[in-house]
């Protein structure tokens, strides 16, 4: 019962924030609503017993990536953009195609719904020492993707520094 309340609360918050992200005229307000959407997603992770992922989402996504976004928004003067047209000329086509995509997904989920319950769902305690389990998986089976991800971050850092320099 508490599960349901928490899930519907965070789901509603996420969806409402997402709609506000894509429809606001002011970019700073969009950024604030994206922060709310990310925190709502973190809440859903917590409800799914993924505690480590919850805190990683808060620290990295909401506390790192969004700070980067907010910095860039504040360093670029966006007063001009408040008076421009917000949606491009083919907005109706984009909306239609995205809704068709959504309808496809809905049909797929609705048809496949009964096939998704293979036996009993695992008990919540299977995910219990969340940090330890993620660490074990990350450093044993998925060591290669882990190393590749660290090289990716190094490349991104070098790329961002080069991009920001005035003279290379």
């Amino acid at each position: 019962m508490l599960d349901h309340i928490v899930f519907y609360f965070f789901a509603a918050l996420a969806v409402v924030s997402a709609i506000l992200v894509v429809t606001r005229r002011n970019v700073v307000q969009s950024a604030i609503f994206l922060i709310t959407a990310l925190l709502a997603t973190a809440g859903i992770f917590l409800q799914l017993h993924a505690e480590f992922l919850f805190i990683v989402q808060v620290i990295l996504y909401a506390g790192g990536i969004m700070v980067l976004f907010v910095f860039v928004i504040m360093l670029i003067n966006m007063d001009v953009s408040l008076h421009q047209v917000q949606f491009n000329r083919q907005w109706w086509l984009g909306l239609l195609l995205a809704l068709v995509l959504g309808a496809e997904f809905t049909v797929a989920i609705a048809i496949g719904r009964s096939h998704l319950s293979f036996g009993e769902p695992a008990p919540a305690s299977a995910l219990e020492p969340s940090t330890q389990l993620v660490g074990k998986v990350l450093f044993s089976e998925y060591m290669l993707p882990f190393e590749i991800a660290s090289i990716l971050l190094l490349v991104a850092m070098i790329g961002a520094v080069v991009m920001a320099k005035k003279k290379i």
């Binding site: 508490l2 700073v28 005035k166």
Partner: protein, 440 residues
Amino acid sequence: MLMNVLHFVISIWVPLVCALIIVAVLPLVAGYIVLMERKVMADMQARLGPMRVGPHGLLQPIADALKLLIKEDIIPDEADKAIFWFAPLISVTAAMLAMSALAIGPWFQIADLNVGLLFVVGISALGIFGIVLGGWSSNSHYSLLGALRSAAQLVSYETAAGMAIVGGLLLAGTLSTREIIQAQNDYGVWFAIAAPVGFFVYLVASIAETNRAPFDLPEAESELVAGYMTEYSGFRWALYFLAEYTNMVVVASIATTLFLGGWLRPFAGTPAFNFLDYLPSVLMLGIGGYCFYRAPKQPVKVQSLFMVAVGLLMILAAIILAAPLIPAVSNLLPGLKPGLHGAFWFLLKVGLYIYLFMWLRFTFPRYRFDQLMRLGWQFLIPLSIVNVMGIGLALVLHRHWGWGHLPAFGLTTLLTLAVAAWLGWAEEKKDKVHVFVGET
């Protein structure tokens, strides 16, 4: 349905009471930390500090709070009103929410999360948004610059603080605050002694994290007016101030939990030091005696009565703290001693850490912003990474190769200090050959 809700609320009454106490008491505590800072500042500058409002200035925070509440609420003309209103709330909420995973004594914790320590670090990192949005929504150059500088400083030192915490977590093996303190109990030694370089890095990073001197350029009065707080007046400013001092308490609590043994008495496992159990009561008796001694010397009769009342309160606290030491009482309520004494030691350590902050504030001159960033990125972050590697090495030496505690941790501390010395020497050398070639 209503019965379900009622049952649920009754089952979580302990966290609820703790939360109510934190929300109600923390603003008052923050006010008295401000008073403590002014008194310590005065002491280090050979003067007396606030003495007028209440005996020895003890009612100064209440007067300040009243003044801030009745001040005029000024909102700049072109400011984005919704965000201007919302920004201090983000700071205060983040700071107070971070208190919820910390255990002040074995009895007093709102939620013992699996990822407790990381939760505190992450949520206090969300306070950056309060600063940036506040500075931006004020629609003023000083505010925006101050806000961006402050946020850049916070983000830089967050990495160093996080890596220093990881160094301590390697020793603890768990992220839950309760179990970290239990691990320090099992180890027999506080992690500040086993990993002193990590503790030092966390100390410096936490001073920068809370925008305290010598890292307080973004809010120094002579630099950028008041940085992001320039356009805030009255109660909104008080909210920012409350957020800053609550952040200090949070950061001190993290350091106490992870490095200074939390609610453990010094030498908790050694029976030879059991006389330290009497220290809380003796301390309270000492303060009460001092209050009685100063009471007749007050200029005004009301203040004398107030001092006598404070003295009696201290005597009462001494009696309450001494109660668990009587065998009859401790047989009746076995949880009383860890609860009361644990809370006392935790608050004492937090108080000493905050006193250290204040001591450093009134001793060192301010860092310039580029020096600050250089210190963070080019000294503290490499040092904290080397510290993590060093503690890993120490654990391998201790657990797999069977070295004792002292040789293993002593060796790695020496190695880390050598790396720190080399980093510092490299910085010095770089300064000496700084020839200005006119390029930007």
